[in-house]
């Protein structure tokens, strides 16, 4: 208990850091993931190829390697100076986007072909079909995997702490270095992550219930 109280500012900063990093990279992953999913189902071959390459590369590369690349390879290569927080955002966002893309793509594929055909046969335009028929149904199947992906993202954000971005794992590292008992810090840091992941799964359960219509 004392460790938590004595270092409350550090714990609070780490907790907020994890939440912010997860939120920001979650948004980036959603935008990129939906875009790449659009590429992968488009009728344009080079874009499909680009989408496939993106997903294959990011899904099969360890996240730690991505962090290394963003930290030590990208800045000198393109002559950029990026803040550590933005670097972590880039690595986490791009990595997670590959998983979001696959979830969205399989969500679109689960909508039966007949639904879109029926929509077209009653004279709906492409955008009407997409907006009113396909996306609402795809969203429902995509929600459970998306929830797992965002929980995984929260857990992955711990790696950012190892690359000295202010974050919950950073707190554990700091206090371990100061010689506090590993077990006690572990409990508090783990509790911080549990709060965030439970919040995410609760939020998605709420969304699922609101969108849940018997098919």
């Amino acid at each position: 208990m004392n460790v938590l109280l004595d270092y409350l500012p550090e714990f609070r900063e780490g907790f907020i850091g994890t939440v912010l990093l997860t939120l920001a990279s979650g948004v980036l992953a959603m935008v990129l993931g939906v875009l790449i999913a659009g590429f992968r189902v488009s009728p344009v071959p080079p874009l499909r190829l680009f989408g496939t390459a993106w997903v294959t590369l990011f899904r099969n590369t360890p996240l730690t390697l991505l962090f290394l690349i963003v930290w030590f390879v990208i800045p000198p290569l393109f002559g950029l100076s990026i803040s550590p927080w933005t670097k972590a955002l880039l690595a986490l966002g791009c990595y997670t986007s590959a998983f979001v893309c696959e979830a969205v793509r399989s969500g679109i594929n689960t909508v039966p072909l007949g639904q879109a055909e029926a929509a077209r046969s009653i004279g709906m335009t492409f955008s009407q079909t997409l907006r009113m028929i396909i996306l609402p149904q795809a969203t429902r199947t995509v929600l459970p995997p998306l929830s797992s992906i965002f929980i995984a993202l929260t857990k992955n954000s711990a790696i950012a702490g190892a690359f000295s971005v202010a974050e919950l794992f950073g707190v554990q590292k700091l206090l371990s270095d100061k010689g506090y008992a590993a077990g006690l810090i572990f409990v508090w840091v783990a509790l911080g992550y549990l709060i965030i992941t439970f919040a995410i799964s609760g939020l998605f359960r709420l969304l699922e219930r609101r969108m849940g219509v018997a098919r």
Binding site: N60, P76, Q172
Partner: protein
């Protein structure tokens, strides 16, 4: 694309012209990105032959080989142990003795929710603290922290996967086995587990891909697996006045991608083979089991429903 997509019909003449324009513009953009990256690599001197010449050095190659071997060693030990722990936890969670089942459920939920890096780091600090009284583990603290961390986390995921497989076995089979006079342990070992493992093999191997990728967390606790070896090496070599980290990262990245692709290729192959055999429980897809339990079961029942595989 087999021509039938939900999103669009077969294109007419206008749409074909439009698609051609998109194709050309898309190709130009993708090629432009590649060209720009190569241009920047050239400007910053990453394409010079000296930089790539380091891989002709026997010492560099030996370093990379040792890194790969260390990574594979961690992966092999952690992979086997996590499968064993997964079996144990799955059986324990389905146990009729409430305390056993509660303990397994709590263990699985807890360690699935905590970031793997946190577990590994805590173990590492713990092992280093009690180094002297731990014997063999103390001498190799980083290795065991990495292996035990990976085992605990992936064991929990594998347990959930195996449990989904056990639950997918038709109820009638268990009843028939009890009617024949088999004991509870016999039903589990002779009937449920073999079918569950067979059905879930693709998903289990996909989780092993995750285990392989996560061995790279050893970098953070300074254990000399492939990534750490590569970084140390890049820091120690100086070519044209700078560290060849770009070249080393490209080579190491290619090795990781090749290893992961080989493993997921195996998972896909087993899935296709499983689809061909017309008996037993439906084979689950070779997707990473990051999904919730209900999701895996839905997929399993959908597979059976589609008639791709006739359930008994």
């Amino acid at each position: 694309m087999s021509g039938s997509s939900v999103l669009y019909d077969a294109p007419g003449p206008k749409a074909q012209v439009r698609n051609w324009i998109y194709t050309i513009v898309g190709s130009l953009v993708v090629l432009g990105l590649i060209a720009f990256t190569l241009y920047r690599m050239n400007v910053t001197g990453q394409l010079k032959p000296e930089v790539w010449n380091i891989f002709n050095n026997a010492g560099v190659r030996a370093n990379i080989r040792d890194g790969v071997l260390t990574t594979l060693k961690v992966f092999a030990v952690a992979g086997v142990l996590s499968l064993l722990l997964g079996l144990l936890l799955a059986v324990a969670r389905l146990s009729e003795h409430k305390p056993v089942s509660w303990f397994a459920t709590g263990f699985i939920e807890l360690f699935r929710a905590i970031p793997l890096l946190i577990t590994i780091y805590a173990l590492w600090v713990l092992f280093l603290t009690y180094k002297d009284s731990l014997g063999t583990i103390g001498e190799n603290a980083a290795f065991w922290a990495l292996v035990i961390g990976l085992t605990v986390y992936n064991g929990c995921v594998q347990a959930e996967v195996i449990r989904a497989g056990i639950n997918a076995v038709p109820r009638g089979q268990v009843e028939a086995a009890y009617a024949l006079g088999l004991r509870k342990s016999q039903v589990m070992t002779m009937l449920l587990l073999p079918q569950a493992v067979r059905a879930m093999l693709p998903t289990m191997i996909s989780q092993l891909v995750v285990t392989l990728k996560d061995t790279s967390l050893g970098y953070i606790i300074t254990y000399s697996e492939l990534l750490f070896a590569a970084r140390t090496m890049a820091n120690n070599i100086i070519v044209n006045g700078e560290n060849p980290i770009t070249a080393v990262v490209i080579v190491v990245g290619a090795i990781y991608i090749a290893m992961c692709l080989a493993l997921s290729g195996l998972a896909n192959w087993i899935e296709r083979r499983g689809r061909r055999t017309p008996k037993g429980v439906a084979v689950a897809p070779a997707a990473e089991p990051i999904v919730e339990m209900s999701e895996i079961q839905q997929t399993l029942s959908r597979n059976t429903g589609n008639g791709t595989n006739n359930g008994v």
